[in-house]
């Protein structure tokens, strides 16, 4: 059996009286797209927050390429090569698009200006941002120097997705990346996800959109009531069965 | 006795000052503490948070009554508004002595140990008048007051100075209603050097010919001097002030301040503590005492009694 790139075992996360994760497992295999589906409140976001260092789980273990790791901040996860698009987007409204793309990993200028005066390479970052957005096909964004607060919800989401795709080196996690996107923009994101996978990077995709999930996923992780209820193969399970398992209307097939 | 405060000999004396930042009141506190150890009583001090903070003084009086103090020494922030609280203290059997500033009416306190702030102003005004008359100079006066609130010390010193100088002050209870052309203007300093400097600078801009500066206290005077020095006018301008603190008297000696009216906060506080100690022992009440004000200058003027800075330094308060 191949070692999972990213693995979680028995994750528990409680918020006061609410138990968001009740001992959840997860395995992400090399080069696959793993979709995570589940009802609202099933603990999907909580699960990937734990994997990306955004929250510290109360119990449970996380393994990266088989080695146990602990992420106490999002930076730890990022250092390990895990990039995440959070459901809440995590962009800085008053900064421009380029600044948001490079937030926390700004490029400095060459020479003394960069090393001594620590000056940013604004133009370089703008150009690179332009390239990334073009690659995503976000045509409606005209100028990477525009402040993010002036973008529509969908445009903002595109910025967050572009960032994760550009910088992920080991795992890319996307929490409902197409929720606010238009048809064309969703298409672009799905293509991007496939591209990322083709680069050899495994992707975790959380989505409520079953056609999308069944189109791109290699395996589907079904989350229910804070636990992994089943992992199914989209080629052998129908959409309605997956939904039935998700809502508890059907027991998962014995793997 | 209980607690740290009321252990010394059982007699507790409260000292309530206007602020605990102004060195004048800090020295008063020290004077009270010294007198306390020699009279075998304990002093507990309180202060307002800033000039004019009447409420903190009211709270302080009440807390002192509750603590079982025998007497209260107070420099009232608002000499009228504090009276009802003082009445309460006296009704509870405490001896209340006003220090430095009279209550309104003065009879509201059992006694007043104070300098006459009006007289303090008057002395420096008379001194300046005599000096300018001798040198046959036409005065152009800047007045650097405390704050916009027209508190009594501020008003008394300012108006005393002007009357001493021979200016018609119109309403004696109001700063700034004079019409005398010799007055260039008033500005406020918060009684601190930074305020003194800014106020002086602005008034100098208004009229660079200013040659006589009245200041509410010596820190303000020090700030005003810096402004004059920066403008290259320190030699041509006479600064007068009130307080008689050691840094102030040193400034008199150094020629920064022409004359200052020295007051005696240590003495006020000492007399006050002793009076309360005596009252606690035999119930006798003290008389009003003027702790005096002395003009300190190294350039004595005709017709105004004064001491020199050497004497001033021996008698200064900190």
């Amino acid at each position: 059996m191949t070692t999972p790139v990213l693995q979680a075992r028995g994750l528990v996360k409680r918020y006061g009286k609410v138990t968001a994760l009740a001992g959840s497992d997860l395995e992400l295999l090399p080069g696959e797209i793993l979709a995570v589906i589940g009802d609202n409140g099933a603990g999907k976001s909580s699960l990937i927050k734990a994997l990306s260092g955004a929250v510290i789980p109360d119990e449970g273990e996380i393994f990266l390429d088989g080695d146990p790791v602990t992420f106490s901040t999002p930076i730890d996860a990022r250092r390990a090569g895990i990039e995440t698009v959070h459901q809440s987007l995590a962009v800085s409204p008053s900064l421009d698009i380029a600044a948001n793309l490079f937030l926390g990993r700004e490029r400095r200028r060459r020479g003394v200006l960069g090393s001594v005066f620590r000056m940013l390479d604004r133009n370089g970052m703008r150009e690179e941002a332009r390239r990334q957005l073009d690659a995503l096909g976000i045509m409606t964004i005209q100028n990477p120097g525009q402040a993010v607060e002036t973008l529509s919800g969908g445009q903002r989401q595109a910025v967050a997705v572009a960032r994760a795709a550009a910088f992920g080196s080991r795992v890319v996690i996307m929490d409902e990346p197409t929720a606010a996107l238009g048809v064309r923009e969703s298409r672009a994101v799905l293509d991007l996800i496939l591209q990322v996978r083709d680069r050899g990077l495994p992707v975790i995709l959380i989505s409520h959109n079953m056609p999308h999930v069944f189109e791109v996923a290699d395996r589907i992780h079904i989350q229910r009531l804070g636990r992994r209820k089943a992992v199914v193969d989209p080629k052998s399970v129908s959409m309605s069965d997956a939904v039935a398992i998700m809502t508890g209307a059907m027991e998962p097939p014995a793997a | 006795g209980n607690g740290g405060g009321s252990s010394g000999g059982g007699t507790l004396v409260g000292l309530v000052t206007k602020t605990d930042t102004n060195p004048f009141f800090v020295k008063m506190k020290e004077g009270a503490q010294q007198a306390a150890s020699s009279s075998g009583v304990t002093v507990q001090s309180f202060a307002g948070k800033q000039d004019g903070d009447n409420q903190s003084q009211v709270d302080a009086i009440e807390n002192l009554i509750a603590s079982g103090a025998k007497g209260i020494l107070i420099t009232p922030s608002d000499s009228k508004a504090i009276v009802p609280s003082v009445d309460k203290a006296r009704a509870a059997g405490l001896l209340v002595i006003a220090l430095d500033t009279q209550l309104e009416p003065a009879s509201a306190a059992d006694a007043t140990f104070a300098t006459d702030n009006y007289k303090a102003g008057l002395l420096i005004g008379q001194w300046a008048k005599s000096k300018f008359a001798k040198e046959n100079k036409q005065a152009k006066i800047a007045l650097l007051d405390l704050n916009p609130n027209q508190v009594s010390v501020d008003v008394q010193r300012d108006q005393g100075f002007l009357e001493g100088f021979g200016v018609d002050v119109k309403d004696k209870n109001r700063i700034g209603d004079e019409a005398d052309p010799r007055i260039v203007g008033h500005d406020v300093t918060d009684g601190a050097p930074e305020g003194g400097r800014t106020a002086m600078e602005n008034l100098l801009q208004k009229d660079p010919g200013i040659n006589l500066v009245y200041t509410i206290n010596e820190p303000a005077a020090a700030g005003a001097y810096e402004a004059l020095k920066a403008a290259g006018k320190e030699k041509d301008v006479v600064i007068v002030s009130v307080d008689g603190g050691c840094p102030g008297v040193q400034n008199v000696k150094a020629g920064v301040i022409g004359a200052t009216s020295q007051q005696y906060p240590l003495k006020m506080a000492q007399l006050g503590v002793e009076a309360v100690a005596k009252f606690a022992k035999d119930g006798s009440k003290p008389q009003n005492t003027d702790t005096g004000v002395t003009l300190v200058t190294d350039q004595p003027a005709d017709g105004v009694e004064s001491k020199d800075s050497a004497w001033g330094l021996q008698n200064c308060w900190g």
């Binding site: - | 903070d53 009447n54 409420q55 009211v58 009440e62 608002d78």
Partner: protein, 333 residues
């Protein structure tokens, strides 16, 4: 071994935290209780009925201001001008009565009108110009204070020149041997009434909602501008009540009073557990907050602590009390 003990300790702490969290204003209440116990141990004079009544009197003015300040802060605002409004209205009440011989009731009502108008001005500036309340009240603070000095001529008005109604708040009522001023009673009634209104009326909900998320409230069909106007005007009225209490307390009206009361009232509100970001908090907490500061000042004074260290203690108290309150709230699911 140690790990196990630690585990048990932590769970005990957590259990305490849970119990404390059951009630909303329990945080400040715990702090108040703890400080009362400590000071009672330090001085036997502390827990006498006379001293308790004293503390109540001493917090009456700041406590009343804190009621108005609380509703402003609940809307995510802040009112730096509360002290200035109080002083201005106290001068108006007292001076009009003293100089024109106006009877007590109309003078008092005139003061209430002035206070309400001052608050309304703040509200108009906040809602029409859409300026942050901090800036508006920083500006009007100076304006009201200057008006106060100008109108009063910086002169204090004596209680003996005023109708007795204006001084009524300083009169005492004998309740079971303890003498409580009407000013303190007024404060308690005001807190009760405002707590009722906030909890049980639509207006109260709209105040919370507006502070929580202004735009969402607007989209939900709340007339947020009207809510804000009414909050600032009501706060102004409450500051006028504080002015009445102030006159009774010092038996005079002083134009110098109240300059520090801005920060003091905010201190009471935040110690009382109301969030400066709006939408969360309770009036009763602010009363407790004012009492905590009052107990500290009084207790430290009785213990003979120098003012210098009282200042420092209040600084530390603010931080500790708010931290504790936040710790207790953390349980929130």
């Amino acid at each position: 071994m140690t790990a196990v003990v630690e585990e048990r300790d932590r769970s005990l702490l957590t259990r305490v935290q849970h119990v404390l969290h059951a009630q909303a204003t329990i945080g400040p209440a715990v702090v108040l209780l703890a400080s009362v116990i400590v000071f009672a141990l330090l001085s036997e004079r502390f827990l006498t009925p006379g001293n308790i009544s004293l503390i109540l009197q001493q917090v009456a003015v700041v406590g009343t201001l804190a009621v108005g300040q609380t509703i402003v802060i609940l809307t995510a605002g802040i009112d730096l001008s509360c002290g200035a409004i109080m002083v201005l209205t106290s001068i108006v009440m007292a001076k009009v009565a003293a100089e024109t011989g106006m009877p007590g009731l109309p003078a008092l009502l005139l003061g209430f009108v002035v206070g309400t108008l001052c608050g309304l001005l703040n509200g108009v500036l906040v809602t029409r110009l859409k300026l942050p309340p901090f800036i508006v009240t920083l500006g009007t603070l100076n304006v009201f204070f200057a008006l106060n000095l100008w109108y009063s001529g910086s002169a204090t008005i004596r209680g003996t020149d005023m109708p007795s109604l204006l001084l009524w708040t300083g009169q005492t009522l004998n309740i079971g041997g303890t003498r409580i001023t009407y000013g303190s009673i007024l404060l308690v009634l005001l807190v009760g009434a405002m707590a009722f209104v906030l909890k049980n009326t639509a207006w109260g909900r709209h105040v919370y909602s507006t502070g929580d998320d202004l735009e969402a409230s607007r989209l939900s069909g709340i007339r947020t501008a009207r809510v804000l106007l009414s909050v600032y005007a009501t706060a102004g009225l409450i500051y006028a009540v504080a002015a009445w209490t102030l006159i009774g307390r010092i038996a005079s009206a002083s134009p110098q009073a109240g300059q520090m009361d801005n920060l003091d009232s905010i201190t009471a509100v935040v110690i009382g557990g109301t969030s400066l970001f709006g939408g969360r908090g309770a009036i009763v907490g602010s009363l407790l907050g004012a009492l905590i500061v009052g107990v500290f000042r009084n207790g430290l004074a009785l213990a003979g602590v120098d003012v210098l260290w009282q200042t420092m203690a209040v600084g530390v108290l603010i931080i500790v009390a708010v931290s504790l309150d936040q710790w207790i709230r953390k349980v929130k699911p």
